[in-house]
Amino acid sequence: MNEYILEMVNISKEFPGVKALDNVNFKVKKGEIHALVGENGAGKSTLMKILSGVYPYGTYSGDIIFKGKIRQFNTIKDSEQAGIAIIYQELALIKQLSVCENIFLGNEINDRGVINWEKSYVETEKFLKEVRLNIKPTTLVMNLGIGQQQLVEIAKAMSKQSDLLILDEPTSALTEDEIDNLFDLLRGFKEKGITCIYISHKLDEIFKIADRITVLRDGITVATHNTADLDESKLISLMVGRKLTERFPKVRYEPGEVVLELKNWTVFDPEIPEKKVINNVSFTARKGEVLGIAGLMGAGRTELCMSIFGCYGSKVLGQLFVNGKEIKARDPGSVIKAGVSYLSEDRKGNGLVLIQSIKKNISMASLDYISKATVINENEEIRMVEKYVTKLRIKTPSIEQLVGNLSGGNQQKVVLGKWLMTDPKVLILDEPTRGIDVGAKFEIYNIINSLVESGVCIIMISSELPEILGMSDRILIMHEGEIRGELHWKEATQEKIMSYATGGK
């Protein structure tokens, strides 16, 4: 009898231009809780998407051996039937339906197309009991808390007779009590022989619950160890243990006076008004410096910046000062006028109008500067836009070219051009080099340098530790909506940042 329930052998997966997974080996023993850890972009999600059939058989190389047989999953349904259930960070329940309807969605207990509700309810109650959830099967999911919804998801996985449960960041939205409850449940499952893969950024939880740990880094399996053989600092060095090479053309300047100050900034979730997404954050940013904001996925970095820009949160408490003047308006227009611009991480979703020309995209946020009595001076517009196209070296035959036809790097430069045209004092860059090639990255670093030189304050969010270390003068590290640490560039190391980012002291 094989002791491994799951073996993923030599798995490789390529996306256009990137090798996401490179000969990854991942073995899970039957009945264990196995933690999968790694930085953002290490390949955890890709690996799990391959396992669950989101990326179908044939789009990757390597073998999946589950319960002793080589499997070829083409859809999520295939992997579910084999006994694999995955519970995503973003819950996939339909809020308008009841608990019972959700649990049996797609697997309704029926007789020639007519649903047998009696039996469905009885079965649902059985599963709810198993996950220790004391609610009626007819309760609507939207009336449940996030923790309870998660348990419903697990009950749904139970209903499918799953042998392998994959939990992706299950505790990111849970309270302490709910987390304890979840852990009890997982330990109970272990006794019943159900195997669990646990993905989390929170190292303390991993040490609490996992039997073994596999570390991924840059698409490679670094190591698999028994939890007992590791401690936090060893684990962190496994996660980040790459050598830093001199890829960053960073130039140091003397930072000037404070241009942006945030005091006691607290932001509440737009959907759950009582939940704090950002908790009492205060910081200052100076003229001529690059302030890096590091943190893992879900730490609240984007939410922090979107809320400064007036685009996030059901309620925002705290004060924002720009050049010593308090900005009370919470809408992008006023914040831009005050001199703060925000380059969003979602280039296509929040940054560009793909069906419009480079010209119209770049001038979009600064039409007021080039118009008189709302009439646009088109010649002035062309002159300004051409200035930025030249300055940023956007490769295009004409400024009338549609942005949708440009490469990722050039698109990013167009968004950058849009914000430079607003002549900002503070420019917030959210993942400015995501999804663009090395050459374009280097150009963007040079642009950052020249902006800093001209006295602009740059706040840069990045999930790539080398980038944060290579480009920042000062680094703030966020974890669970709070700033957990601040490091000067001279003292900053990958290990220190990762330690703060995973909730360490």
């Binding site: 929040n350 979009m364 009439v375």
Partner: protein
């Protein structure tokens, strides 16, 4: 010499790009001429007479005016299903004010326009500030204003207006010399338009030169001027040959010029296209999305009022059923003219070509004595086809 050819090359490139971007409009223009050719052949030349074309232009005015507003609505990614019902109500209000309350035509027109503006603002408020989908808000008005029309008209036709009011729908520009052989004023307007176009075109060239941008070569510029001048001359001579330029057509031309200016040259116009292209990006760029949407619907209301006035004046009566299916004509005109049902794309001139297509089909089928029931069926199918073409061409792009 080398420099000269390279400049010419890049201007040619930009012309090519321009053609590529507006390919839909050019194909629709060709399609329009094709439709005219077919009707001319089928009606044995009746369709192409000055008299019929003049009437066709008058008939398209209501649709054309509303289509201008509808372009903004649809480019922003919304819809207005209520324009037919609202136009019916506004026509009835204007009629009742003049025929029943004895209000002067000028005052009645002013009240009607303001009422239209308020109705549009009402829609905009619910859509922009209360987040109710435009489809529902305007569907509600579509029903509600049918009722208001019945209330205002008491279910009966209100009719017979003063000559001043009637002239807005049926009148022609008066002659300068009363006994002239043809409508001399109209001919004059045609000539003045051509001169104005030439002046504007050269002024534009000069400012571009001042900024140091490249300009089209003289032959290309002259070619363009000749082309536009011939077009203006052709259209005005058709009307001069009959009774002159109809006042309604003059109103429509005014609206076309104003809305082309708004969509191309103003910040408001840019905001509308940005919102339709990517609402999130527009919001994050500091555009006041709600205010822009409110203004879009306010403008739609105002244009609906203007269209209602022209329509009521043309019929010289307000009927309880007036305005029926105007929304179909306006929406179809936009879509045929290249306005995207997904928002973000569309031009005024395209919608006008679309309105001409719709009016030509109406007019041609009437000349052929096609039964009204078939006319409805055919127009419905044309709308379906136009939307399908929109999606099919998008997929390819």
């Amino acid at each position: 010499m080398n420099l000269r050819t390279s400049l010419k090359g890049s201007v040619n490139d930009s012309i090519k790009l321009n053609i590529k971007l507006n390919v839909r409009q050019y194909t629709m223009f060709v399609a329009l001429l094709f439709i005219w050719l077919i009707f001319t052949v089928v009606t044995k030349g009746l369709f192409i007479t000055s008299r019929n074309l003049s009437n066709l232009f008058i008939q398209m005015c209501t649709t054309g005016i509303m289509a201008c507003g509808m372009v903004l609505v649809m480019v922003a990614g919304h819809i207005d299903l209520s324009v037919g019902s609202v136009a019916g109500t506004l026509g009835a209000i204007a009629a009742a004010l003049m025929a029943k309350c004895g209000v002067s035509p000028i005052l009645a027109i002013a009240i009607t326009l303001i009422t239209g503006l308020l109705i549009g603002t009402w829609h905009g408020f619910w859509i922009a500030y209360r987040g109710v989908p435009a489809f529902i808000v305007t569907l509600s008005s579509m029903t509600a204003f049918k009722g208001v029309t019945l209330a205002v008209t008491n279910g009966a036709t209100i009719g017979e207006f003063s000559n001043l009011f009637k002239s807005l729908g049926q009148g022609y520009i008066p002659k300068i010399i009363p006994n002239a052989e043809f409508n001399d004023t109209s001919a004059l307007i045609g000539i003045i338009s051509i001169i104005l176009f030439i002046i504007f075109d050269f002024r534009k060239r000069n400012t571009r030169k001042k900024y140091g941008f490249e300009v089209a070569t003289i032959p290309i510029q002259i070619l363009r001027i000749v082309f536009v001048s011939v077009a203006i001359a052709l259209v005005s001579s058709i009307m001069v040959n009959y009774r002159g330029i109809p006042i309604a057509v003059l109103i429509l031309i005014g609206i076309i010029l104003i809305y082309t200016f708004i969509t191309n040259k103003t910040t408001f116009g840019r905001h509308v296209y940005a919102i339709g292209g990517n609402k999130e990006a527009a919001k994050l760029s500091g555009i006041n999305v709600k205010k822009t949407e409110l203004l879009i619907y306010a403008s739609m209301g105002l244009l609906t009022a203007l269209a209602a006035i022209v329509f009521t004046a043309r019929l010289n009566a307000a009927t309880p059923g007036a305005g029926n299916l105007f929304e179909l004509d306006a929406i179809a005109s936009c879509i045929i003219g290249g306005t995207s049902t997904m928002g973000g794309k569309g031009t005024i001139i395209g919608a006008i070509i679309g309105a001409l297509v719709m009016a030509s089909i109406d007019n041609g089928m009437s000349l052929m004595n096609v039964n009204i029931m078939y006319q409805y069926m055919i127009k419905g199918l044309i709308l379906l086809l136009a939307v399908w073409v929109d999606f099919a061409t998008k997929k390819r792009a």
